[in-house]
């Protein structure tokens, strides 16, 4: 019986010890965990770890966190050495922020923030950054890009538009109009036509002109044609609004109103915009009654017809 009792006591002690150990995590000893995501990040991740409201360690999943690539940065490459943030100076109540902050509303100027990125990323598509309108208006790289996340929204073809229209509100309305490029469907993205990092041409187009950019897809409009329609050769956006319109074919207005902006009664060659005062089959007299300029002038982007001057010069088939 004594043996049995001793055995039971040992069993009971072991059980109670187990219970004690289950709740014994509270006496954990502080451990230096070393670098968690980037090379040399231990100083920062001592405080800024998985407990941050804005996830910081997930930078390890991004290209910036590829430690096998010797060019990748560490925390201080972007945020500065920040000695006063690491060790709070005596007599300072609140710990100073890091040298370079990227948060919205930060005191770090956009130029300074952008220079951090351009230290590595100047060149290529960003060669014109300094002369771009985004740079001139103090847009920071981090206004559009997210560094610490694996999924940078602005690099996703479908979600990119959400980032752009957050500022470009007029275009947000236009891409919801009946006639538009399939932007919302992810078939066309803003960056297909624009280079937000700056370009040599106007409106941050990816090519040097609006037309050159449009021709990258709409090459049949490029020509060369025997008979050119001058506005087509100048700028597609004279007649079209590529972001979206209420008229078919992304036209800024319906025919004949769009056409009559140039082809009016007292100016450029045109048909009268009034009703005929007698029975007639003359197209000149009928004018723009049918409102179907493009029914006859089918080759409005330019024609190669050799039929006769009347047909060819007026972009008829």
């Amino acid at each position: 019986m004594n043996v049995e009792a001793n055995r039971m006591l040992r069993w009971l002690s072991a059980a109670l010890l187990g219970v004690a150990l289950m709740g014994g995590g509270s006496t954990a000893i502080a451990q230096d965990r070393g670098d968690l995501a980037l090379t040399g990040d231990a100083t920062c991740t001592r405080c800024h770890d998985e407990g941050e409201a804005y996830p910081v360690l997930s930078i390890g999943k991004t290209r910036h966190g590829t430690v096998a690539d010797g060019r990748t940065p560490t925390c201080t490459s972007c945020h500065g050495e920040s000695p006063t943030h690491v060790t709070r100076p005596e007599g300072v109540a609140e710990r100073p922020l890091p040298d370079i902050n990227f948060k919205k509303g930060t005191a770090t100027p956009a130029v300074e923030r952008n220079q951090v990125c351009l230290t590595c990323h100047q060149g290529g598509e960003r060669i014109h950054w300094q002369t771009s309108i985004h740079s001139a208006r103090d847009v920071a790289c981090t206004d559009c890009h997210q560094m610490h996340t694996q999924h940078d929204k602005v690099k996703d073809r479908v979600q990119q538009v959400d980032v752009c229209v957050a500022c470009h509100t007029e275009q947000r309305a236009q891409i919801n109009r009946p006639y538009r490029h399939p932007i919302k469907e992810g078939q066309v993205s803003c960056a297909d036509c624009h280079n937000p990092h700056g370009s040599a041409g106007e409106k941050l187009m990816v090519r040097d002109t609006v037309n050159d950019t449009c021709y990258t897809c709409h090459m049949e409009k490029r020509g060369p044609f025997v008979h050119n329609h001058q506005p087509v050769t100048e700028d597609c956006s004279i007649c079209h609004n590529p972001h979206g319109t209420n008229s078919a074919n992304l036209l800024k207005a319906r025919a004949p109103f769009l056409c009559q902006q140039c082809h009016n009664d007292d100016g450029h060659r045109s048909h009268p915009g009034v009703l005929p005062n007698a029975r007639t089959t003359s197209t000149d007299a009928l004018g723009a009654v049918g409102r179907g300029c493009l029914n006859c002038h089918t080759n409005i982007h330019g024609g190669n017809s050799t039929q006769d001057a009347l047909t060819a010069g007026r972009f008829r088939r």
Partner: protein, 112 residues
Amino acid sequence: MKILSFIAVAVTAAAVSLPVAAAPQVNERAADQLVRKSKCLTCHAIDRKKDGPSFKEIAAEYKDDPEGVEKLTKHITVPTTVEVDGNKEEHGVIDTKDEAAILNVVHWILTR
């Protein structure tokens, strides 16, 4: 013999289940979000020591204290000075005035 075994099992079960049974209803998600938003986790961790003690250590110290809830509530709502690496530093306060949310965080800490 059987009685002793039964007692051992009963004691074990009671010991394991007691803290759970005594724990108040805590909205884990809300507490976690508020603690992160208030940057508590910059200096405290759940189960390891950072600049401040772990929440488990805090819970062990205060959960049996009848005034534990009151003390912790005061600590996270009224600015105080704490010592970090031998230097005096201001202890931050929770980023809300919602008393229910504050109480939820206190109970969340005490149940770590």
